[in-house]
């Protein structure tokens, strides 16, 4: 665990940026299309460093995200823990895929989290979000290559391993 202090800081910083992007003010029409930034970052770190970022990190990030966006405590935590769990199971396969194939895999992960959130809002608050809701995971999947490249650069630059 040499240099783990710095590595932890870098990982934390990327999560913080993702959370900032999640609550950054956007025009009203764009609000429903906001990508799942935190999920994307979590998937990257679980694939890149499965021994450091896993279900526990997903859970903690989820709880903070819940407090941040005012959702029911545990809603994001549940989704992110499950996504982290699946990503860890598949990390060796996803790593060797080309970008477009990775995006497809990520799409499935994002969909799982989104469907869980959809189901939970439906059960607890009786709201069925409109069609725009289902555009979010594809947007996230399209953003994946950029997220991946950016985070990989950050990881290599700060030598986080």
């Amino acid at each position: 665990m040499s240099g783990s202090g710095q590595g932890r800081l870098v990982i934390l910083a990327t999560f913080c940026v993702a959370m900032l992007l999640t609550i950054l003010p956007m025009p009203e029409w764009a609000r429903p299309f906001r990508p799942q930034w935190v999920t994307l970052v979590l998937i990257y770190w679980t694939i890149a460093l499965p021994h450091r970022v896993g279900v526990g990190s997903g859970f903690v990030a989820g709880i903070i995200l819940d407090a941040l966006t005012g959702t029911l405590l545990g809603q994001h935590a549940l989704g992110l823990s499950i996504v982290a769990f699946i990503a860890i199971q598949l990390h060796q396969r996803i790593r060797v895929f080309p970008f477009w194939q990775q995006s497809l895999g990520i799409l499935v992960l994002l969909l799982i989290e989104h469907i869980l959130a959809f189901w939970l809002t439906g059960v607890t608050r009786g709201i069925t979000p409109g069609m725009a809701y289902w555009a979010v995971p594809p947007i996230g999947a399209l953003l994946w290559p950029w997220v991946f490249v950016t985070l990989r650069k950050i990881r290599r630059h700060f030598k986080v391993s």
């Binding site: 900032l20 009203e28 609000r31 859970f59 709880i63 005012g70 029911l72 935590a77 607890t124």
Partner: protein, 304 residues
């Protein structure tokens, strides 16, 4: 596995028992820096806009505001006279209460929250005296109530959230009911009105103060649509909030004077709304013989 279990337990606790208010407040305190940073661009542009404004435009604005203030003060004189008269009349029937409320202006944070939950964050918290359950108004009407407080910010649940219900009454005839949020920012529904209740499109709904959280008499919404289907026990009534829920930048936190005598207020209202309130009163009337006469005479009138 344990993470999933823990999240599920948290979900149930938070949803069913509301035990997690403290946890949530602590977490909100920890995440306050993130909220602050996310709000910075907006604060910065507002600041820049204010500091670089020309002297002329400031003078013009100042003049306009002074004019407006004069108008408002003139209006206020009229209201003060009316209020004094109202209190005197209430004194006569021995049910006067204090109207004065203390208010504090709070600025909205521009942070975006979950788009499917109707809530906003304001930049005043426990340090300014805000508390859980505090009513929040804007310049036009009731907006919502504070649901969690940190020292420097608090979260406000808007009246249009599906988990929010607000005791209201129709201003025209005092008919009491409950306005429930629909999850859409421009719509409230009144699900508990019988089909023969006296309500019309364009009626103004005001807070009734019966819940004990909101001060009575503040405007809430205007009735926009009424569907009376003969086979349903309740009519479906929709109303549009008067508050500019999606446009206001500044809100008012209200401290109501305690002991507003909700019981006295109810007594006060009953004679007014014998025609309107049907559900409990009428079923009760069928059992007893003595009291119903005025009621049963009165109720068919508005219905027909």
């Amino acid at each position: 596995m344990s993470a999933i279990l823990l999240s599920l337990i948290l979900l149930v606790l938070d949803h069913r028992f509301h035990h997690l208010q403290h946890v949530r407040s602590t977490l909100a305190f920890l995440t306050y820096p993130l909220h602050y940073v996310a709000d910075l661009p907006f604060t910065a542009t507002t600041w820049l806009d204010e500091t670089t404004r020309s002297r002329d435009s400031l003078i013009a604005q100042n003049r306009k505001l002074k004019d407006r203030n004069l108008h408002l003060l003139a209006e206020l004189q009229k209201y003060e006279a009316l209020q004094a008269e109202n209190m005197r009349l209430r004194d006569l029937v021995d049910s006067s209460f204090k109207v004065g409320d203390r208010v504090l202006v709070a600025e909205l944070s521009s942070v975006d929250l979950d788009p499917y939950k109707q809530q906003v964050i304001i930049k005043k918290g426990a340090a300014s005296g805000a508390f859980e359950g505090q009513p929040v108004l804007d310049a036009h009407a009731v907006m919502g109530q504070v649901i969690s407080v940190t020292p420097f910010s608090s979260t406000v649940l808007l009246i249009t959230d599906t988990s929010h219900a607000l005791p209201v009454q129709v201003l025209r005839n005092g008919l009491r009911t409950i306005a429930v949020g629909t999850g859409r920012i421009d719509e409230l529904k009144l699900p508990y009105l019988p089909t023969n209740s006296d309500i019309a499109e364009g009626d103004l709904l005001v807070t009734s103060g019966l819940g004990g959280k909101f001060p009575p008499g503040y405007p809430v919404a205007t009735v926009t649509r009424i569907d009376r289907s003969p086979d349903a026990p309740f009519s479906s009534v929709l109303a549009q909030p008067r508050a500019h829920l999606d446009r206001s930048r500044e809100v008012l936190l209200v401290w109501t004077v305690p002991n507003q005598l909700p019981a006295a207020a109810v007594d006060e209202l009953d004679p007014l709304e014998t025609g309107g309130t049907v559900p409990e009163e009428q079923t009760g009337d069928e059992d007893t013989d003595m009291t119903p006469d005025p009621m049963t005479e009165a109720s068919p009138e508005p219905g027909t």
